[in-house]
Symmetry: C2
Subunit: 208 residues, 2 copies
DNA sequence: AACGATACGGAGGAACCCTCCGTTTGTCAA
DNA sequence: TTGACAAACGGAGGGTTCCTCCGTATCGTT
């Protein structure tokens, strides 16, 4: 079926839809070049529409971001859904985290999408956060139920950690490092206590 | 002794020094109110100097940030130094990480300082990154040498994870969550393998 | 006191933000 | 088809911030 923006609203006009899509395309392009700081007038120019048109469709900068990046978030959610059916809990979580890193490494917009989870205000933030939290919970809860994971780390917290891990994706070698960090984290989830209070260090057993 | 900006340069003039300090004071104040986004003209106004004076002392926004936040970074470094002498490796690292969280929670500017580690360009980034990496290495290496920590996680990587953990410090309950995340991470460092390749999950022993 | 050297201040051009409103265009009923 | 109106368009324009440039004021020295 065709892409439709029509909700229950009176009526969407044809040129309106066309321009909206042009704007989204242009925004994706301009943002990926100069992430997040690009001028909205540049987006309008790129799209070949007036600045007024841009503001009518997306009243705030945030709104434009939201429209551009919502799709990426949904993609991650879908992956979690799939993994939660197939892989075993520990490997499922690990794979999803790894996939995140790979996506960030290749897809331009993904980083912005995830950073907005933390900084974007209101709408997109809420949406992404809930969506991704749900995705992680899907993977996490099974493991907790099965006794594979400690139970005192929430999906929200894990999400924060993840965002952080590639928050500062540096040059060349960031990817292996990020993968390793995720592994460390998953190990921590598996090996730790399940009590709420910080405990003293107990002698490790799986150490080399 | 008095604060001195004089290096090997020809001669620093008295009013120059005075204005520089006024600017730093004003910047700290204005930035803590509206972190990082505040207008530089507001800073100049607050300091009671012309905008030209601000730009002469700090040619770029970055330069001003650097001057304001360098101090915070040094503070963290000093703490690591102290902890690396007193506490045992595992607890030393844990304490430093916890201290970070506490500082971020109370001191306004600390978050900006740490975020700049990831995003600030060139000068401050390099300085902070090296400084904090060194701080962590101080705490980490002892533990690795003693066999307390796995050896395949570098100080740089740990720093990234840390920055990430309170990158998105949310409302009310972020602090307990952050502390828990750090604990999970430290547990991962203790319990994990020391080989480079991701291994299959081994049966945990300290689990509840 | 006088005189360079140095630093100061702020005017000004450019970029951007966002609003407002006159003009154009799509849609639908006749 | 045609006419008419709501909806959407475009961009001028007022306000803000950025950063540069240069005439003026101040410092420090002789």
């Amino acid at each position: 079926m065709k892409a439709k923006t029509a909700k229950t609203r009176p009526k969407p006009r044809a040129d309106s839809i066309r321009n909206r899509e042009r704007l989204l395309l242009a925004a994706a392009k301009v943002f990926s070049a100069d992430a997040g700081q690009a001028s909205l007038e540049a987006v309008a120019r790129e799209a070949g529409v007036g600045i007024g048109t841009l503001y009518r469709h997306f009243p705030t900068r945030e709104a434009l971001f939201a429209a551009v990046y919502r799709h990426e978030v949904d993609q991650l959610f879908a992956l979690a859904e799939k993994l939660s059916r197939n892989a075993d809990p520990v490997e499922g979580l690990r794979k999803w985290l790894h996939a995140n890193i790979r996506l960030v490494a290749t897809k331009k917009g993904m980083v912005e999408a995830l950073q907005l989870v933390a900084h974007g205000s209101s709408e997109l933030k809420t949406y992404s956060f809930q969506r991704l939290t749900a995705a992680i919970a899907m993977l996490l809860d099974r493991g907790v139920a099965a006794g594979d994971f400690r139970s005192d780390v929430s999906a929200e917290e894990l999400l924060r950690a993840l965002v952080g891990i590639f928050y500062s994706r540096g040059g060349k070698g960031w990817q292996p490092g990020a993968l390793r960090l995720v592994n460390v984290f998953v190990d921590g989830l598996c090996g730790g206590t399940s009590a709420g209070t910080p405990r003293r260090q107990s002698p490790r057993s799986t150490a080399k």
